[in-house]
C-alpha cells in the first residue's frame, strides 16, 4: 500500500516484497519524522546494497563501509525525494556503485579478500560438498575481480541482482546497448576464466 492519507501524509506500506513505491512511501515517512521507517527501509535496501558492494569490491569490510555511507546519503536526501520520479533502489545502487569506484581508485593493486563471500550454510550437504561450493564461489569472486570495473558492475547487477537492462542503464548512466555489451563481454570473460579451473572446481568435461 502506497497511497497517501487524507492529510497528504503517506500511509505505512504493508509487509510484502520490496518494490519501488513501498520504498517511496517509507522514505517520505522517514523524512516526516516517523521513527520506525528507517529500520524498515534499512531491512529492505541495505542487504542488497551490501551484497552488490561485496561482489564489486571483493572485500567485506570495505563493502560494509560503502553500505553505511550509501544509507547515510539516503537519510540525508530523504526530505528532497520526489516520490514516483525514480526508484529508491535504483538511486541507492547508483550511489553504491559510485562509492565502490571511489574505493577501488583509492586501493589499486590490493588482493581479493576471499572471506568476503559467506559460506553457504547448507545443512543437507556434506562437508566435501560445502567445501566445493565455497571453492566455486571463491572462484567466481576471483574471476569477477579480473573483469574491468564497469564490466564487473554490469555483470553483478544483471546476473546476481537480476536487474533489467534498462534499470542497469539508469544506475550506470549508460545506454541499454552499452549495458548489453558490457554484460555479454563480462560473461564471456568469466566463463573463459573459470574454464581454466574446470577440474579444480569439480566440473567434468563429459
Amino acid at each position: 500500500m502506497t497511497g497517501a492519507s487524507a492529510e497528504g501524509t503517506p500511509s505505512r506500506p504493508s509487509n510484502g516484497p520490496s518494490n519501488g513505491s513501498n520504498d517511496d512511501a517509507l522514505l517520505v515517512l522517514y523524512a516526516n519524522g516517523d521513527p520506525s521507517a528507517a529500520a524498515e527501509l534499512m531491512q529492505r535496501l541495505a542487504p542488497r546494497a551490501l551484497g552488490v558492494a561485496i561482489r564489486v569490491l571483493g572485500n567485506r569490510a570495505e563493502a560494509e563501509d560503502v553500505t553505511q555511507e550509501a544509507m547515510m546519503r539516503l537519510w540525508r536526501m530523504a526530505p528532497d525525494w520526489q516520490p514516483g520520479k525514480a526508484k529508491v533502489s535504483t538511486w541507492l545502487y547508483r550511489v553504491v556503485m559510485n562509492l565502490c569506484i571511489d574505493v577501488k581508485r583509492r586501493k589499486r593493486g590490493r588482493d581479493v579478500d576471499l572471506d568476503a563471500i559467506p559460506e553457504p550454510p547448507d545443512p543437507g550437504s556434506s562437508a566435501a560438498d560445502r567445501m566445493q561450493d565455497l571453492a566455486r564461489q571463491d572462484a567466481l569472486q576471483q574471476a569477477l575481480m579480473q573483469l574491468p570495473e564497469r564490466q564487473r558492475q554490469a555483470v553483478v547487477l544483471r546476473h546476481l541482482e537480476e536487474l533489467t537492462n534498462p534499470e542497469i542503464s539508469g544506475i550506470m548512466e549508460i545506454s541499454v546497448e552499452a549495458v548489453e555489451s558490457l554484460t555479454a563481454r563480462g560473461k564471456r570473460a568469466l566463463a573463459k576464466c573459470l574454464a581454466n579451473r574446470r577440474e579444480e572446481l569439480g566440473y567434468s568435461d563429459d
Binding site: 542487504p47 544509507m71 547515510m72 566455486r136 564461489q137 546476481l160 566463463a191 568435461d205
Partner: protein, 138 residues
C-alpha cells in the same frame, strides 16, 4: 567434446554459479545495522532541530512569533552581553542628559528658562500689556 560444447558447458557452469550466489543474499551484521540506524536517527533529529529555532524538543509547542522576533533581535545585536551594554549606554546617556557635569550646559535648565522667561516673561507680557492698553479700548 567439441569447443562449442565446452563453451556451452562453461556458460552453464557459470549460470549455476550465479544461481548459487543469488541463493545466499548478504546478511547485515548487527553492528552495521546499529550504526545505520544511529545515523538515521541523528539525521532525523538534526532536521527536527533545524525546523524549530533554538532546538526545541519534538512534541513541545513551537514558540510564538513575538518571542521568536525578540530572540532574533537579541541575536542580531550580539546576544545577551551586548544587550546589557546597550542598556547601560542608554541609561548613562539619559542620566548625562538630565544631570550633566558642571562644564556642560544644562539642557533642562535652559529649556525651563526659555519656556518661562523668554517666552512668557517678555513677548507675552508685552503683548498682554499692549492688548490691555487704553489705546486698544478706545
Amino acid at each position: 567434446m567439441t569447443d562449442t560444447d565446452k563453451s556451452l558447458s562453461d556458460m552453464n557452469h557459470l549460470e549455476d554459479l550465479f544461481a548459487a550466489a543469488r541463493s545466499e543474499p548478504a546478511q547485515l551484521p548487527q553492528a552495521l545495522q546499529a550504526a545505520m540506524l544511529a545515523d538515521a536517527q541523528h539525521m532525523q533529529q538534526d532536521r527536527v532541530d533545524a525546523r524549530v529555532p533554538g532546538g526545541c524538543e519534538p512534541g513541545l509547542n513551537p514558540q510564538s512569533l513575538p518571542t521568536r522576533l525578540w530572540q532574533q533581535f537579541i541575536s542580531a545585536v550580539g546576544g545577551w552581553p551586548a544587550l546589557g551594554g546597550l542598556a547601560v549606554a542608554s541609561l548613562s546617556g539619559l542620566w548625562i542628559g538630565l544631570a550633566p557635569p558642571s562644564f556642560l550646559p544644562d539642557p533642562v535648565e535652559s529649556f525651563a528658562s526659555y519656556s518661562s522667561g523668554s517666552l512668557l516673561g517678555s513677548d507675552l507680557d508685552y503683548d498682554v500689556s499692549f492688548l490691555m492698553s487704553d489705546e486698544v479700548f478706545e
